[in-house]
Symmetry: C2
Subunit: 207 residues, 2 copies
Amino acid sequence: MGGVSTVDRAERVPKQDRSRATRQRLLEAAVACLAEHGWAGSTVSVVAERAGVSRGAAQHHFPTREDLFTAAVEYVAEERSTALRALFPEGAAGDRHAVVAALVDLYTGPLFRAALHLWVAASNEDQLRPRVTELESRVGRETHRIAVDLLAVDESVPGVRETVQGLLDMARGLGLANLLTDDAARRERVVEQWAGLLEQALGRVRD
Amino acid sequence: MGGVSTVDRAERVPKQDRSRATRQRLLEAAVACLAEHGWAGSTVSVVAERAGVSRGAAQHHFPTREDLFTAAVEYVAEERSTALRALFPEGAAGDRHAVVAALVDLYTGPLFRAALHLWVAASNEDQLRPRVTELESRVGRETHRIAVDLLAVDESVPGVRETVQGLLDMARGLGLANLLTDDAARRERVVEQWAGLLEQALGRVRD
């Protein structure tokens, strides 16, 4: 983003744009591929073809398979975080229930499915494990931060931090329950009930 | 288990015992194998070798790979359910916190890891999906029943069913968070906090 200071700026910017667009297509194709075919079925070649990019161009952007798929999960997680914050520009503002439902939604789409495949593969693959562990912790911290902001809670109050963490653990478990079957109806009832429990537990919305 | 009514009972029972012992060794080896190597690394041959059983004998007990691994996850889930009930012969009896911790423990060992590999594989493999979906729903219902019994709650009270379901979803999410790193310290704090919130939500222990 920005920072090109040479004279041939007009010529170079479009090239950068193209490169950025290619990168983005690769990242989105990688997440879709992981969600549909799992780690075993997800190679750089398959993703390049899906993105309509040559294998060489894909490898220019992402030298290894691990680079491509960890970057993809991180990219889509960031997109989703931005979208979530945009949904509640003023935070919970009295509607914590909607925030809880939106947080749970983070864990029921293709991104969660892709991330799950990556986590599970990482648990058996030494090359992948450190990368995914680091990624998971970064994404987890960011999600926690968003949850605290949108729920408008005060983490200096004892127990609030753990209450929010447990909510996100529950959301992750609901995502897992949605893996093989459409669990939406049951999930909605659980979210309704737990949003009420949280309302009681978290106290008033922070100013 | 019982039921042999012919005259050569004395001779046949030991053979049945041997067969049962072989089956059990195969099931335990299958779960360990799945937990350690994932679905891709888990074949009938690998499990037979680990169990010290010939491939032919393994196939006599379990004609297909799907048969072996779904039976294995079910067997170990039943063992764990029995063990959990035995831990609390009189139900919660005033110590719901211990029950919540024990329920969460169901999702942090090798069984959960094995089941997770099977679920994730099933999400991409048509041969496996219906078997695992059916298994997951059966094990899920049994775990819910145990939770209701041990927590000594009354499901006819509105919201109680969903509160218990959400607790089991949280437990599943905590299991996932433990996949790549040892999450025990954080988990203990979350369980402590939510056990307290649940105590308030679930009302008095049922008679």
